[in-house]
Amino acid sequence: MTDAFVEVRQLRCHFKNGNNLLSAVDGINLSIAPGEVLGLVGESGSGKSTLGRIIAGLQPRSAGQLLIDGEEMPNQYSRRQFRTMATNVQMVFQDSYASLNPRMTILASLQEPLWSLGIAGQAAKDKAAYWLDRVGLPPSAGERYPHELSGGQRQRIGIARAFIAEPKLVICDEPVSALDVSVQAQIINLLQELQREHNTAMLFIAHDLAVVRFLATRTAVMYLGEIVEIGPTDRVFESPRHPYTARLLAAHLDGNPRDRVLRVAAPTKTAVNRAPLATDSGCRFAPRCHIAEPACFNTPPWLQPSRVDTEAACHRIVYIEILKARGS
């Protein structure tokens, strides 16, 4: 794909843990087209945040390529490449309090990305004031400090700060999981509005499946450093093919008292908390999988395309298709 705005090829990120080499991100290929919203789901420890941080340039990678707008980005940027990253890629973090400087006023925090791009003075001030209004805060909030705002208000600032330099890609790392449900809806709606208004590409990292379903056009499911399933959001949610995706969806509670899912989908095998090692062979989900066969423990699976536009990395995909066709 040449028209992708971001492309990663065979991306790996290893961390040292004693004598072991943890592979937080292990051989990921991914592309995000301009204006596309890619949802990234998975449980904690699946490497979704690490992947986001690598694409944002906040985390050096161990191997693989990162292409932004067709240009390959090394781990160490030149001055010009730093500018390319700063103008093109921005990030919204989960903890809005930790991501704002407590000693800077909101207005100054908002202008900071502009200063580093060489926009200063009245022009920067006007733009910051516009964005303050755009995310629904009163002008008086500009004179305040982060601790004086509520969590929802601070996250609005985080979003304004990400969008103010009009980047082509915004990476949102769990932007609403720390917020109350009623505030969550406001923030999600705001993100969607801004994304559509500016046609920004977005990498939306979350563990809340319903939020991803609402926002994303394409969804990738990660498990222990690997993408196990990827495809158009509706397809992934309506006909999940990887056993892990099915498990995730079964564990989602949809607020309907008539169908209590837990009794039916009660996980028979408990979550094995283990770290992904670089020396792993075979499918990482196999120990938790109810249809694993010996081959699953020896040979790593690869992403296989299907008729419904989704790709899933599973050896038992044919078996699953047969089960589905039989309707069980």
Binding site: E43, A185, I188, P257
Partner: protein, 337 residues
């Protein structure tokens, strides 16, 4: 007789009127969900029910009975007999709620030694047996480990073990699954359900996740700005949300089934240092009327279903037109612009 019967619980901490009027009843074996946003007084209610409020908090209630006992009269010494024994609590964050310097086994065994007078050895045996029931592999070995050696889901299971080890009559769970992954959450909820069924413990389940509520609760109380605004059976509340706040809350949650509707609740909750005289939700309510300036009482709106909203007053035009009877001296129902 109800296991827990609290009427008009009021708690103020300094200038903040954190809980303004909360009424709760729990039957033996019942699971009641307490739903609301942060700052609505859910946790303060839970802490008060455990007698864990700081000394500067003023707590009062019209009546407050637990297993037939008047709890408002208890002193700290009596509370220590109750806590962990008859009423136990599961906290939201097991990492901070457990003691990092004690082994998991010792922490689970502690309530048994204090309340049941078991020897160190017997208590340890019981703790290990319980860990095994909670699906922790190698329980004897695990019991010798410290909290930092456990993963989040396992810590939460250890926390549950601590809470249920004395077989309390009432278990208060304060957002026990909020910090967990969905798959681990499913496991923990299953466990709680099993424990409840096997020992007949009543549970007060505090959460803001309506999905969890639908899964585990028998009845629901919705809190807003320090008051219970709606309460009833799970099916009653989920079928006909009577209070506008409950309605708004449901519309604000994204769902997997129809992902294309999301209506945020405009505005923010009132400042509980100066709570409004009338309905706490009026400022954000789309169905606001002139009468909402006055404090609405709890009104019946179905079988065992109460809502604190003037819309359910028997004299509301929608209702008296149905009843075809005009009562003189009715309040002003005109919609406010």
């Amino acid at each position: 007789m109800s296991l827990l019967d609290v009427n008009a619980l009021t708690v103020s901490i300094g200038p903040v009127q954190a809980v303004r009027d909360v009424s709760l009843t729990l039957e033996p074996g019942e699971c009641r969900a307490l739903v609301g946003e942060s700052g609505c007084g859910k946790s303060v209610t839970a802490m008060s029910l455990l007698g864990l409020m700081p000394s500067n908090a003023k707590i009062s209630a019209e009546h407050w009975l637990f297993a037939g006992r008047d709890m408002s009269q208890l002193n700290e010494r009596d509370w220590r007999q109750v806590r962990g024994n008859q009423i136990a609590m599961i906290f939201q964050n097991p990492m901070t709620a457990l003691d990092p310097t004690q082994t998991i086994g010792a922490q689970i065994a502690e309530p048994l030694r204090i309340h049941k007078g078991l020897s160190r050895r017997d208590a340890k045996m019981r703790a290990i047996a319980l860990l095994e029931r909670l699906a922790i592999a190698n329980p004897a070995q695990r019991a010798e480990q410290y909290p930092f050696e456990f993963s989040g889901g396992m810590l939460q299971r250890a926390m549950i073990a601590m809470a249920v080890v004395c077989e309390p009559q009432l278990l208060i769970a304060d957002e026990p699954t909020t910090a967990l992954d969905v798959t681990v959450q499913a496991e923990v909820l299953c466990l709680l359900q099993e424990m409840r069924e096997s020992s007949g413990t009543a549970m007060l389940f505090i959460t803001h996740d309506l999905g969890v509520v639908a899964e585990i609760a028998d009845s629901v109380s919705v809190m807003y700005a320090g008051q219970t605004v709606e309460s009833g059976s799970l099916h009653g509340v989920f079928k006909t949300e009577a209070h506008p706040y409950t309605q708004a809350l449901k519309r604000a949650v994204p769902s997997l089934e129809n992902p294309r509707q999301l209506e945020a609740i405009k505005g923010s909750p009132p400042d509980l240092r100066r709570p409004p005289a009338g309905c706490g939700f009026a400022a954000r309510c789309s169905q606001r009327m002139a009468i909402c300036e006055e404090q609405p009482p709890q009104m019946a709106c179905g079988d065992n279903h109460l809502a604190r909203c003037w819309l359910w007053h028997k004299d509301h035009p929608l209702r008296w037109r149905q009843a075809d009877a005009l009562i003189s001296g009715t309040p002003v129902w005109r919609n406010k612009e």
